[in-house]
């Protein structure tokens, strides 16, 4: 069930250039169903900024009633969010949307988790849950440059982890798809979250495979009411049928929607 709660800031720290890790506490945590779901944040009680900001859930700790998100300080909203200190509160609406299906891969099989930039965070909770389930995980994570890399060690503890940077300042130079090819990584299921061009590349390479992707779109309500975040369905690419990223997604099976 979707809740709206003033959650307490437990910790906030910068973990890479303009990248922050924020942990919040509140009962809303008990409602989270799957990795890949997101929350919609109101960072101030003032009207500037006015709208909520969608941020993925990167780590869940139900025992402590806490969850963690990782976000980049981009514009006004995330900058204000990055100034929150422990003890302060954040107005959280969530959990929202449908996440990555765990049952799309079975114990003993291999899952390839492919993330780009701020698309990496939700894969961390996913990876932990897959490992708990006995699935072999391999991570391929793309970043702009060394200064933007985060969570490499954490992912490494869960499975093989390849890092690619666009400028080659760290790990492999190039895109995540290059890395997958170069090392001939094979998998039963691929889960991915990142910029649309990356998702398109994955779609064209592995259309025939068992692939799940998480999309980004500008949002209004975040709950399916305003029609801000729709995309065409692949079945009817120019017609009237549609999916809402906020409430039908953000995770879709590849080939379900038009990227």
């Amino acid at each position: 069930m979707i809740k709206k709660e003033l959650m307490r800031v437990i910790s906030q720290q910068s973990i890479a250039e303009n990248i922050f890790e924020l942990t919040l506490q509140g009962d809303l945590v008990q409602e989270i169903k799957e990795p890949g779901q997101f929350v919609h944040l109101k960072v101030t009680s003032s009207t500037d900024p006015l709208l909520r900001r969608p941020i993925s859930i990167a780590n869940i700790d139900k025992r402590e009633n806490q969850f963690t998100m990782i976000y980049r300080s981009e514009g006004l909203g995330t900058r204000v969010l990055s100034e929150k200190r422990p003890g302060e509160t954040v107005d959280v609406l969530g959990p929202l949307g449908n996440g990555f299906p765990l049952d799309a891969v079975s114990e003993g099989q291999t899952a390839l988790l492919v993330g780009g930039g701020i698309g990496v965070p939700p894969l961390y909770e996913l990876s932990q849950q897959l490992v708990d389930k006995g699935v072999k995980v391999i991570h391929v994570l793309g970043f702009q440059s060394l200064s933007a890399v985060f969570y490499q060690e954490k992912f490494s503890l869960l499975g093989d982890t390849y890092i690619a940077t666009v400028d080659g300042s760290y790990g492999e130079k190039g895109f995540v798809t290059d890395v997958i090819k170069k090392y001939g990584l094979s998998f039963d299921t691929l889960y991915s979250c990142g910029p649309t061009p990356m998702l398109r590349a994955i779609e064209s390479e592995y259309a025939d495979k068992n692939v799940y992707i998480s999309l980004e779109e500008r949002m209004g309500c975040g709950v399916g009411a305003c029609f801000a975040c729709v995309c065409h369905t692949a079945a009817d690419p120019t017609g009237f049928s549609y999916k809402k990223v906020c409430s039908d997604g953000p995770v879709f099976k590849v080939g379900e929607v038009v990227l």
């Binding site: 009207t47 500037d48 309500c221 009411a225 305003c226 017609g239």
Partner: protein, 313 residues
């Protein structure tokens, strides 16, 4: 009788608070948060004769204390609204105001005739002012004669009272309102969005795929208050006011300006509970101001030239 109760043509409102069209879909999403029967009414998303996908994304952009939208009247079309949405809503004890849109007169007339037959549709809201559709929409909203003509035609076929939604993107809102009143409209709803734009410095392009969009939210409230203040003194049909309403205080400012009910749009996105919260807070605010019944607030700010308001119970 409840101090929040308001009677308007076709509408018996438990309270004068209703979600604005396009900001509440057809109710399903917000039914997750509270009992929709708490609302005074619901203005459903614009319905057109045929289904519409709407504009490409991005469809929304934030502005200072406001937002731009260019949804493009996405909706499943008249048939599906009659088949699915309205029957689903009939489980709630709340009057529905059907927002009717189109690109030519025939569309409006057709949708109005059919949708006004639905048992839980108690009034129509003629959307002659959508800034986000290439043809029609806006034209009907800027030329008084065209608006009046359309109003007449829709009145002829509608089985429920007809409210016409005014566009703020005009030089003289009073002329428009008078023409529509003379054409037989039962009420007015105002305002629709102002036309605006945001440009992304990184891409150098407008943020919205549609380039321009409709500006809503607290930023536009002063424009809405001014227009309602002017129009409410020039016409004798009731006005449902909207534009940046977020609080019980905002609601009373609208009543003081001359509105008889208030719709809440963008604020639903900021706080899904905003409508029931406002409904809860209104009685206490009335107490603080020493007002018995909210209807006493209608047109309070007019001063000397105030006309008596008789359409509210």
């Amino acid at each position: 009788m409840s101090r929040l109760e308001i009677q308007l043509p076709g509408l018996h409102l438990k309270n004068p608070i209703m979600p604005a069209s396009g900001c509440f879909g057809f109710g399903k999403e917000y039914a997750q948060f509270y009992d929709l029967s708490l609302l005074g009414a619901i203005m459903i998303k614009a319905t057109t004769a045929e289904p519409r996908f709407g504009n490409p994304t991005p469809r929304v952009a934030e502005t200072t204390s406001g937002m731009l939208n260019a949804i493009g009247l996405q909706n499943p079309g008249l048939e599906k609204v009659l088949e699915n949405e309205l029957p689903w809503l009939s489980q709630y004890d709340v009057p529905i105001i059907a927002n009717v849109a189109g690109s030519q007169v025939e569309d409006y007339v057709h949708v109005a005739r059919e949708i006004s037959k639905a048992p839980n549709v108690h009034a129509l809201e003629l959307n002659i002012s959508c800034p986000n559709v290439k043809t029609g929409g806006i034209a009907f909203g800027t030329i008084p004669e065209v608006a009046a003509e359309l109003t007449k035609k829709v009145k002829d076929v509608s089985e429920v009272p007809v409210y016409v939604k005014l566009s703020p993107n005009v030089a003289n809102i009073v002329d428009m309102a008078k023409a529509i009143e003379q054409a037989g409209a039962d009420g007015l709803t105002m305002i629709n969005t102002l036309i605006g734009m945001r440009i992304d410095l990184k891409t150098g392009r407008p943020v919205l795929a549609n380039r321009t969009g409709g500006l809503s939210g607290p930023a536009i409230k002063p424009v809405a208050i001014r227009m309602i203040y002017e129009v409410s003194q020039a016409v004798s049909i009731p006005i449902i006011g909207m534009g940046g309403v977020q609080s019980a205080e905002d609601v009373l400012e609208y009543f003081f300006a001359g509105a008889s009910a208030v719709a809440v749009g963008t604020a639903n996105f900021v706080d899904p509970f905003v409508c029931p919260t406002i409904i809860d807070e209104l009685p206490q605010l009335l107490d603080e101001l020493g007002i018995d019944h909210i209807s006493e607030c209608i047109g309070r700010s007019w001063g000397k030239n105030a006309k008596t308001v008789n359409y509210s119970s």
